[in-house]
Structure formats: structure tokens, C-alpha cells
């Protein structure tokens, strides 16, 4: 696996803030304010919050797809930009973003092509990744022949192809139905257990966040802030039974309450925030 | 499909509209400069005791010689402009006669376009509502687009002997096919959920047509209109060629060909006016599109 940071801290965000809109234009939006967060090696951290709280923006700051207007993002003991150039992380988006013109296996090989790995190595690695996500016999298929859930599994296989230190996931199961989603949660949990990759996971779903994570970071909107961090002390190995545990329900309730009233605001105010942010065309 | 309010117009709209025009003019300018540059390097010798009346003498022999750049084959830009300004025996300037010819051609093309578009939309509405007819006829209509219909134009115009109306027939034929196909696609593209909504109000078919299907068809229709506008003009010009008409642009082109050795600039002036007519027709459709669709989602610049 790609060398993770010594000292066990893979990601460190200090005072990160993000303001959209040109200075002096009078139409600035503060998407993130003063975010401090440290993610340890092997952790599974979920970011959860209402629309407009900046969680997707925060994920992209970690991945150096967006540059923060303030603060620093350190990934693997390097600035985020260097981590991206060194290809230290893999990213999974809400849409699978597979290339129609490539077979499933060739899609998984894409990152390996970019790093210039020789053909034999690429094929072997892609096969191994497809086995990991249990799609080994679909290597020769085309993306459109697979269901949504299967396509996302291919996207995950691709994201893991370079053995990244971190996996960044932006609501990857958001487009799936509930039952498929629960199955995918189990899959992802298994894969995480097998690879030991550190994961930062953005989601809208409280049950999903609690089921998958070691810690749940609850964010609030306008401006985006971390309002609470809920440690998830469920057993390390989770399964279908986990969802029926009493501790699980308590944690879900804890997260829900943290979401409901961050910093003493009333729900009514928050609805207004959402509408305003959406009207300005900015989404988290 | 959201039923949201239209987005507020950003202040950059004016700039966004001006930029393509500026780009177009720049390429045009580059072409004109290139034109004269080619003549400078490979054309006929330049001998002007007083260049364009400015009193500056120019004497230049180009180093190379390209037959296509000779004064006969590629008259100087100012000679072409002079052809526009030259006044004939009847007192009309070249520009006036050419514009007159263009209007003659345009009349036929326009009437044909209107007829073809109306008939095309009517047929499309029929086909959309009668499935079996659609399955039978649409493949034929699509296949017919590969037939070089424009090649028929002279036959039709000569045979019908109906003057400029024959040209209109040609133009309507050329308009009809793309409009029918686009209209069918557009009418079918209406959001089924919106149709379901209308049905839940017990709206009748005509109401659904008017309120949901036809507005959904606009973008497709305008794409087809842009194609048809050009096609109608081409059909009109081509239709005039063997027709004996001298009033339209086709006739002017033939005249220009006949007297080419005497006055090459005349043919060029005619061709430029024909090009201009095509562009004007196209831009008219673009403007109509902008006006009709101004409250819908924005299309790309020129949206061709």
C-alpha cells in the first residue's frame, strides 16, 4: 500500500476555509469556515450534513480538486497538491463515471495506464481488483451492461487500483435504491477490512454513516462548520446483525440529534439557508 | 423536467452575444488580408500610379505566380467593392441590382419554407398520434433525406413553368423533410410526467398538444429550421439555373459566368451577395429562436 503518514495521521486539515465568489463582488458565499480535522490511518470517517454544509467541497479540498481560500490541507505528510500529483488517493463519485468505450477491466486499468505500468502488470492488478469487489467474471463486459450497483463496484475497484493510502468517496451510493445500498455498505465494509485503506466518505444517509464509520463528522451549514464528531464504538467487524443492535440505534439517534440542532439554530432557519444556497447555484 | 422559474439573466449576456460576432468578423478580416497577401506574393503584377486615388504609387511584381491568384481568377478586394458601386445603364448600382435579385430568390425560398414547415408540422402531429402511420412512414421520410433532392430543382422549376412559385415548391420540398423528422422527435420528447399531469386534469389531446408537446418541440424545430433555411435558399438558386429566369441570384450567377472574362469582379460580387443571403436567413432563424425560447433553458451560442 502507498506509504501512509508516519505518526498515523493521514489527513490533517487546519483552519481550512472556503469562500466562493470574487472578492468585492458582493456575492460571496462562505462555504466552509475554520475546519480542523485529523484523520488517522485506517480510519473510516463519514462527513454528514444538510445540503450547503460544504461536505463535498471539503472532500475536494482534501483531494486538491479545489483550493481552499484559507488554511492548510496536509495529506500523507505532504501538501494536498503534492499528494494528488503523487497519486496517493483514489476517488469515487456519485456517478460511476466509467468510460463506455472501454471494457470493465480496461476501465479499472485506467489509473495504471496513467502511471505507465506495463500491460501485463495492469491486467493482473485489474483482475485482482475486480476479484476484490467480486466482479471477476465481468471483466470483458461493457459498462452499460451492468447495473448501477455493479458499476459503482467497478468504480471502487478502479479507485483502489493504485493501492492508494486514502479513498475519497462522494455519496457513491446516493443513486441506488435502499436495498442495493445496504448491500453495497456491506461490500464496502468488507473491502475496507481487507485493504485497510483510510476512507473519507460523504453521505446524506445517517444509517449508512453509522454503519460504515469509525467516526461520524456532523457538519452544519452556512457557513460550513464541523458541529460535532460522534465516535462510533460498534465492533470492528460489522454485518447485517449490526443494524439490529441497540447500540446502533442509539448512535443513529445521536447523529440525528446532532444534525437537527447544530449550535442552537432552529430547523426553520436551516431550511432558509438551504434555499438561499441553492438559489445562488452553489451546492456542497 | 423541473418547473422552476427561469434563472436570472447574468450581466455577461451582452458580452456573450458580442463575442461570437467579434470572432466572426476577425476571421473575415483575416480572410480578406490573406486574400490580398496571396495576390501580393503570387498574383499578377500590381501597377497603381495612384492607389485608390490616394496619390501613392504602387509598383510590385510578385515573386511567385499562382494561376488561381491572377487578377481574372481572384480580383482585388477593391475591384469587387467597385463592382458593387458601379452604376449600370438604368441607373442602378451593382449593389441595388444584386439586392433585388436576392429578394427575388428570397421570396420563392421564403414562401416555400413557410409551406413546407407548416405541412411538415401538420404531418408530424398526425404521425405522433397515429402510431401505425408513424412506423410506416418515418423510415421512408428518413431514407428520402439521402436523395439529392436539390438535384431535382431544375427539373421541377422547368417542368412546372410556374415562375417563382416553382422555386417555392422546391424550397417547400427541401424544408418539409427535416421539419417533419424534427417535429416528430420534438413532440415525442415531451416529458411523460408532464403529460400525465395534464391527463390527471382530464385535459383533452389538443390541450396537451398545445401546452406540453409543442413547446417541447421548439428546440428541435429550430434546429431543423436552420437547416431548412439554408436548404431553401440553395434550392431556390439551383432551381433558377436552367429556368431562364434572370431576376434571381441564380440568374445573376449565370450572367456573371457569361461575362466573366470582361468583368470577373461581378461574379464575385454576386457570389458574396448569395453568401450574405444564406447568412441572413440563418441569423433570422437564430434571432427567432432566441426570442421564442428566451424563457426556457439557455442554448449554446448560435446553437447550431
Amino acid at each position: 500500500m502507498k506509504a501512509a503518514a508516519r505518526g498515523g495521521e493521514v489527513v490533517r486539515l487546519e483552519g481550512v476555509s472556503m469562500v466562493f465568489g470574487a472578492a468585492g463582488s458582493g456575492r460571496q458565499v462562505e462555504a466552509l469556515r475554520d475546519i480542523d480535522l485529523a484523520v488517522g490511518r485506517g480510519e473510516f470517517v463519514s462527513l454528514i450534513g444538510p445540503s450547503g454544509c460544504g461536505k463535498s467541497t471539503l472532500l475536494r479540498i482534501v483531494g486538491d480538486l479545489v483550493s481552499p481560500t484559507g488554511g492548510t490541507a496536509t495529506v500523507n505528510d505532504k501538501p494536498a497538491r503534492q499528494a494528488r500529483l503523487d497519486r496517493d488517493y483514489g476517488m469515487v463519485f456519485q456517478a460511476p463515471v466509467l468510460f463506455d468505450w472501454r471494457t470493465v477491466q480496461k476501465n479499472v486499468e485506467l489509473p495504471l495506464e496513467i502511471t505507465g505500468a506495463p500491460a501485463g502488470q495492469r491486467a493482473a492488478k485489474a483482475q485482482a481488483m475486480l476479484e476484490l469487489v467480486e466482479l471477476a467474471e465481468f471483466g470483458g463486459h461493457r459498462p452499460w451492461q451492468l447495473s448501477g450497483g455493479m458499476q459503482q463496484r467497478v468504480a471502487i475497484a478502479r479507485a483502489l487500483a493504485l493501492d492508494p493510502a486514502i479513498l475519497l468517496m462522494d455519496e457513491p451510493f446516493g443513486a441506488l435504491d435502499e436495498m442495493t445500498r445496504e448491500r453495497m455498505n456491506l461490500e464496502l465494509h468488507r473491502i475496507w477490512g481487507q485493504t485497510g485503506t483510510t476512507v473519507i466518505f460523504v453521505t446524506h444517509s445517517i444509517p449508512e454513516a453509522v454503519f460504515l464509520s469509525t467516526r461520524v463528522v456532523v457538519m452544519s451549514a452556512r457557513p460550513g462548520r464541523i458541529s460535532t464528531i460522534v465516535p462510533i464504538d460498534l465492533p470492528r467487524d460489522r454485518s447485517v446483525e449490526t443494524r439490529e443492535m441497540e447500540r446502533y440505534f442509539k448512535l443513529v439517534t445521536e447523529v440525528r440529534e446532532a444534525l437537527r440542532a447544530p449550535d442552537g439554530e432552529s430547523p426553520g432557519e436551516r431550511v432558509e439557508d438551504l434555499a438561499r444556497v441553492q438559489a445562488e447555484g452553489l451546492s456542497a | 423536467m423541473t418547473l422552476a422559474a427561469p434563472p436570472a439573466r447574468p450581466a455577461s449576456t451582452l458580452a456573450a452575444s458580442v463575442r461570437p460576432v467579434a470572432g466572426f468578423l476577425m476571421v473575415l478580416l483575416a480572410l480578406v488580408v490573406g486574400w490580398e497577401l496571396i495576390k501580393w506574393f503570387a498574383g499578377d503584377p500590381w501597377r497603381y500610379p495612384s492607389f485608390l486615388g490616394t496619390g501613392i504609387a504602387i509598383e510590385h511584381t510578385p515573386p511567385f505566380h499562382l494561376n488561381q491568384a491572377s487578377d481574372i481568377n481572384l480580383p482585388h478586394v477593391w475591384d469587387v467593392i467597385a463592382a458593387f458601386a458601379a452604376v449600370d445603364a438604368a441607373g442602378h448600382s451593382g449593389f441595388e441590382s444584386l439586392v433585388g435579385a436576392a429578394l427575388f430568390t428570397l421570396r420563392g425560398a421564403l414562401v416555400g419554407f413557410a409551406l413546407g414547415a407548416a405541412f411538415g408540422m401538420a404531418l408530424a402531429i398526425l404521425l405522433v398520434h397515429v402510431r401505425i402511420l408513424e412506423r410506416a412512414l418515418v423510415p421512408l421520410v428518413v431514407a428520402s433525406q439521402t436523395i439529392p433532392i436539390v438535384a431535382l430543382a431544375p427539373i421541377i422549376v422547368v417542368g412546372l413553368q410556374a415562375g417563382w412559385f416553382g422555386i417555392a415548391i422546391v424550397a417547400s420540398y427541401l424544408t418539409f423533410f427535416p421539419v417533419t423528422i424534427a417535429a416528430i422527435r420534438g413532440l415525442r420528447s415531451a416529458d411523460p410526467r408532464a403529460i400525465e399531469l395534464m391527463r390527471s386534469y382530464a385535459a383533452d389531446r389538443r390541450s396537451i398538444l398545445k401546452n406540453v408537446r409543442i413547446p417541447a418541440a421548439y428546440p428541435y424545430l429550430f434546429t431543423a429550421f436552420k437547416v431548412s433555411a439554408t436548404a431553401s435558399i440553395v434550392g431556390a438558386i439551383v432551381g433558377e439555373l436552367p429556368s431562364g429566369f434572370r431576376e434571381g441570384l441564380g440568374g445573376s450567377i449565370l450572367l456573371g459566368m457569361q461575362y466573366y472574362t470582361l468583368s470577373p469582379a461581378d461574379l464575385w460580387a454576386t457570389v458574396i451577395v448569395a453568401a450574405g443571403l444564406g447568412m441572413v436567413a440563418f441569423l433570422a432563424v437564430v434571432v427567432a429562436e432566441r426570442l421564442t425560447l428566451r424563457n426556457q433553458r439557455p442554448v449554446g451560442t448560435l446553437g447550431a
Binding site: - | G23, R135, I155, T230, A274, A275
Partner: protein, 276 residues
């Protein structure tokens, strides 16, 4: 004559059409076609239409058979112009489109110009091309076809290279892929369906361009001149036979492009009804 730029891509499974489905697709248009031909013939006889403009299908078939050698030789001559025009125009269109995609400076001025230039009746330039390249050879006509084909191909190449999924761009950025790689692995495959849409239009344009430019001035052994002369003699059934030949060329080229597309870019699902 502009390109239809809407290409549909499906994520759904591609089902192979069963025999019943294929019958439903093929039978109605064939029936309609036959019905139209019959109706045409009946009308011509019933109304005793003189040969003016529209002879009956049987008369046209007869003229076709009688004049087959002349027609074939004329069609071959013109086909040469069409193919040459396609080769030149498509190559130039793709090259310029790709260059414009790479170098944004050109793109801003070139695209609006190309879109408007596409509305110019290029045919009007036929006499000028005849003067430049000679009216008695195929090259001048091929150049008209090439110019007609150039603009839609260039526009669609450009659009296809630029209209990529922003998420895919983000993905490649997350892998710090150099622009060269983005171009090769994303933009080029993405542009293929767009280019094929333009190619389908190009076949028709090249055919029309070659034939119509022959109306202005061309050797006798060309399809356009044949049509013009036979029409002048009022032998319309012969002109129509030649038109049918031209249509066959057009359809043949079109089907070739469709087949080529299936081979080169099988992943693009294209709506056939509605192609311009």
C-alpha cells in the same frame, strides 16, 4: 444540411431484437413504400399525366434499363468526385477541429465563423472553383463537395472533443493525468459519435455538391450534366433514372458510414429517426 448534434448514449442493456420486433420494424415501411409506388403508377395512368416532370415508376424503370451503360459511366465519374471531396473535406475538418480543440485561441473565433459559414450556399462558389481548377475535370467539383463537408465535420469534431463529462475530467484530474492523456483517453473516444453523426450528413452533402456543381459546367459524361441535358430535351424519365442512381449512391455511402460506426464505436446508441 447542418449536423444533428444530439447523440443518445444508453446505460441500459442492449437487447437483441427478436424476430417479431424486427418484423414490426421492417414490414410497415416496406408496405408503405410499395403502396406509394403503386399509387404513383396508378395516378400517372389514370390522370394520363404527360411525361411532364413526373413520369410513372415503370417508365423510369424502363429508361433505367435502356440507358444503363451511360448511366453507370456517368455515375462512376461523379462518384470519383464525391469520394475525393469526402476524403479531403473530412480530413481537413477533423484536423482543424482537433487543432481548435487543443488551442483555445483559435476556437473562439473559428467556431462562430464555421457555424455561420455553414449557412452560406456554397454551391454559389461552383463557377469560381471551375475557373480556378478548370471546368472539365473532377477536381473542381470535388472541391465544392469538400468545402460543403468540411464545416459540419469540423464543428462536430470540435464539439465532440470539448463536450466531455465534467465528472470524467475531475476523475482524470484526481489522477494528475497530463493533458495529452486526457485528450487521448477521454476526448478522442468521446468525439467519435459526434464525428459519425457529421459523416452521415457529409455523405449526402458530398453527393448533392458534386451533382449540382456539375450543373454549372462539366464534361458530358457526368451525372449532373446528364440530368441537365436530358431535362432540356424533356426526356424526364431519363433524368429521373439518373436521380435514382444518385440516390442509390447517397444511400450506399450513408449505409457504409452506419456500418463503419457500428464497428468503430459500438457503444454509442444513436436515434436513427431524426438524423439530419
Amino acid at each position: 444540411m447542418t449536423a444533428d448534434l444530439l447523440v443518445e448514449r444508453g446505460w441500459r442493456q442492449r437487447t437483441s431484437a427478436g424476430a417479431a420486433q424486427q418484423a414490426r420494424d421492417i414490414v410497415p415501411p416496406v408496405v408503405a413504400f410499395v403502396a406509394l409506388i403503386v399509387l404513383w403508377e396508378v395516378l400517372v395512368r389514370a390522370l394520363n399525366l404527360k411525361q411532364f416532370i413526373l413520369p410513372g415508376p415503370l417508365a423510369i424503370a424502363a429508361a433505367w434499363q435502356e440507358n444503363l451503360p451511360v448511366l453507370v459511366s456517368a455515375a462512376t465519374y461523379t462518384l470519383g468526385e464525391i469520394l475525393a471531396g469526402l476524403a479531403i473535406g473530412v480530413t481537413a475538418g477533423i484536423v482543424v477541429g482537433a487543432a481548435a480543440a487543443r488551442f483555445g485561441a483559435i476556437r473562439g473565433s473559428l467556431l462562430p465563423f464555421a457555424i455561420v459559414a455553414n449557412s452560406v450556399p456554397i454551391i454559389a462558389f461552383a463557377p469560381i472553383f471551375n475557373n480556378w481548377f478548370g471546368s472539365d475535370n473532377q477536381f473542381s467539383k470535388a472541391m465544392i463537395a469538400a468545402v460543403l463537408v468540411f464545416f459540419p465535420v469540423m464543428i462536430n469534431t470540435l464539439r465532440g472533443l470539448l463536450n466531455v463529462d465534467p465528472a470524467a475530467l475531475e476523475l482524470l484530474r484526481s489522477y494528475a493525468a497530463p493533458e495529452r492523456t486526457v485528450f487521448r483517453s477521454l476526448r478522442v473516444p468521446n468525439s467519435l459519435p459526434f464525428i459519425f453523426t457529421a459523416l452521415r450528413v457529409a455523405t449526402t452533402l458530398a453527393t448533392i455538391g458534386a451533382i449540382v456543381s456539375e450543373y454549372f459546367a462539366a464534361p458530358r459524361g457526368s451525372l449532373g450534366q446528364y440530368i441537365a441535358t436530358q431535362s432540356a430535351f424533356l426526356a424526364f424519365e431519363r433524368s429521373w433514372a439518373a436521380i435514382v442512381f444518385a440516390a442509390a449512391i447517397g444511400i450506399g455511402l450513408y449505409l457504409f458510414v452506419v456500418a463503419l460506426e457500428r464497428v468503430v464505436s459500438p457503444w454509442a446508441r444513436v436515434q436513427t429517426a431524426g438524423d439530419q
